[in-house]
Symmetry: C2
Subunit: 321 residues, 2 copies
Amino acid sequence: MSKLYAGVDLGGTSMIAVIADRRGKILGSSDCATIREVNPSETIAQIAEQILLAAKDASIKPSKIESIGIGAPGAVSPKEGIVVRAPNLGWTDVPLSTLLGNRLKKKVVLGNDVQVAILGEHAFGVAKGLDRVVGIWVGTGIGGGLIINGKLDPGARGAAGEIGHMVLKEDGPVCGCGRTGCVEALASRTSMERDVLAASGKGKKSAVLQIMKERKKTRMTSSVMDRALKAGDPIMMDVLSKAQHYLGLLAGNVVNLLDPEMVVIGGGVAQRLGEDFVGPIRDLARSRFLKPDTEGQIRIEHSILGDYSGALGAVSLARDA
Amino acid sequence: MSKLYAGVDLGGTSMIAVIADRRGKILGSSDCATIREVNPSETIAQIAEQILLAAKDASIKPSKIESIGIGAPGAVSPKEGIVVRAPNLGWTDVPLSTLLGNRLKKKVVLGNDVQVAILGEHAFGVAKGLDRVVGIWVGTGIGGGLIINGKLDPGARGAAGEIGHMVLKEDGPVCGCGRTGCVEALASRTSMERDVLAASGKGKKSAVLQIMKERKKTRMTSSVMDRALKAGDPIMMDVLSKAQHYLGLLAGNVVNLLDPEMVVIGGGVAQRLGEDFVGPIRDLARSRFLKPDTEGQIRIEHSILGDYSGALGAVSLARDA
């Protein structure tokens, strides 16, 4: 039997654990809402429980798990296995690898959630086998990551891939980072929600608020967006189109600088809307390539692993450690 | 005696050839104005002549030259040794390596002029020994190049480093590439000249036109800029400051994406103005770093090899081929 790994995608809202083999075949999984704003040890107990439930789902004994990979949100220090700062979890300097490893008596390898999801698409998804890939992950914020020479490229200080904080419109909106004009402030789901609410307040009416009410959502989630678009809501369509425009400029900039084989667009919105989301981004990006891509060598695609990008990336992290 | 190499920096206006050892010590050099708009073979004969004159200046026999490196402007195909398209020379598909190699009976290694200049700074200059460097070369246009894992990184299609065509202000001026808002259209010497002339026409008066007249220059060269700045010309100061602002945003974007150890600013303006040019660019860039550089790990510096960045880069190209 091939070696088996546990992979965990730890988010501020929910977490998912899988058991998979070295080729990314999922044998079992388990997910739950993340316990927040309590002692980190409670969340860590919860992670351990999900791994054991995933093993049960896979009908394997936990002793068969070779090692564990985990993607955590925020700033992490992979070498030390420490979550340095994760506002979504309320964590500061939590030695996650050690604490989880002690609990399950396994080696635990840690990475940043977005970078791990990009690893997942590179190991088992749309970017499988490529040498040079840029990931743009659109969600609450905009994250990113680089695959260079077939490997995740962490940069000189482990800070590469902060694609959401590249300026595209200096006189644009204020970003969560406190600066203005970052692409995160122009094209993240959070910024789209802001723009929909602002437009709805100006006499026009958006279906978004009604859908959020019906579905008891406090935020404009990807499923709310999808529903509003299917209903032909003009405000949602207009706001989405603007975000796609900026993401297209971003992808074009990245191609002109890095000349990758592929740009992968991932995260909740891309997963939900698929080609409808990525198509207009691709068209605009291609119009900005300095060296024309006459042979179609550069692909701009959405992620294909869906909810499992992160957990499967964590499996590849454990496998390759 | 250490092996000796010839390095040539071929420009549309002038060319320079050096003879140097493998450590970049220059033993002799020669330069001249480039013959243009004639048969490429005349320019190639001129290049061969400069190499022989540089050998004479170094007091060595041409037979002592191990091989030749050359940086040429425009789009080049390094593997085939072909200058694909060089508008500054009026060349299309010129097999420079073969033609020059046959003439001098030596191996000739070709690269793009800007990328070769960045190689020079990496081999022998300010970025010596670093693993991860981004070069931003400001001149008639804005070029760039990447050093990743200690080597020039050409990208998937040989198109990496087209940093001048990253968009920074979509509603900005039209660029030479036909698109709008590229940083080249905001911060190259050509765009600064355009802005000085436009401002001078609006009732205000710039010293730049007077200095160009005195020096019989038809373009606002770096030396004209330097003179106007020393004379305290307010239009020149204002235009320079705006260009530095955009270059600062660009450098910040590049750091957030790539997390390099150093950004080198090169080209005529950086060479002439030095720290006066780079200082404000550095300050703005640092204000945009998402991960604060508290330990001063990221340096933003001007090139230090002056007129010899290109020719010495060509020496390193020949040496490492």
